[in-house]
Symmetry: C2
Amino acid sequence: MRKRFKAICMISVLRLGHRSQRDVRISTHCGLVARALGASEIIYSGEPDPKLVDSVKSVAKNWGGPFSASYEKSWRKVMAKYKRKGFYICHLSMYGLPIQTIIKKVRKRRNVLVVIGAEKVPGEVYRLADYNIAVTNQPHSEVAALAVLLHEYFKGKELGKKFKRAKLRIVPQERGKQIKSLRQR
Amino acid sequence: MRKRFKAICMISVLRLGHRSQRDVRISTHCGLVARALGASEIIYSGEPDPKLVDSVKSVAKNWGGPFSASYEKSWRKVMAKYKRKGFYICHLSMYGLPIQTIIKKVRKRRNVLVVIGAEKVPGEVYRLADYNIAVTNQPHSEVAALAVLLHEYFKGKELGKKFKRAKLRIVPQERGKQIKSLRQR
């Protein structure tokens, strides 16, 4: 039996270079994965996209939290601010060092800012990050890389996370679908 | 040190209900994640989209394999065929049973067909699957669910997978990017 998930740490996710037409679904997936797998918030930079932020917020409102989504124009300011606050900055990149050789060091940090890029990531991000981490050195997906990082960081305990103030909850089924509506406590 | 990855098993991925305009990036990510994290192939159903199949194939050509991408109009036929071939069918769904309670049983199977849906999955899929598996019962992303399933199935060993006949390979770096061009052996 895996231990119960406890949020004794704070993982924030910074999504770089969002483009409001092209990236809307991938960026939404990044936000939902961040929430579902134990992060506390996602911050989007790139093109402003209030609909994107609202759609992630509305999932958190219905399915529980705490989880916040927000937009910040300057990723530089976000990285500087979180560094000042003592966050460890992990940039996910296919060019980085293999996650399996680094994850133990990351787990020692209670507060982590995970940076995930879009198409082209400025060189400055690589320099500002405490670690550039690769979830395989193969081309694939920032959504998957974020999922594996969170799953490894929390050692699978995030899978049992309970969400507070949920209006909706799924009752797991062998076949079919069952959703329960909950009164807010 | 994690054990070396060995392909003693065959994981195929079936992506349901692809829509050529709306899903192209998510479906591409599904294919690339399948390849990068140790699956042997992806089969797309839904709207035919030769560009999608070609783009996943071309990644496998440049970055190595073996990995195949293909299109089949009827997901029903694919599921029936793989069932006949003895594949265990795992359908990823937020409504299913928690992966952490089922993964041990799945790992015992050498040949697995992982089915991932798009927006609306027909009830028949739930009935045909040997298991409906949830990577958390929260709404998030089929890309992330696929990544966590493969990562759990292979116990992280897929992260060290070597790809054959690669033309390109990344040399992992603490900072910056290094790609090596390889002569094909």
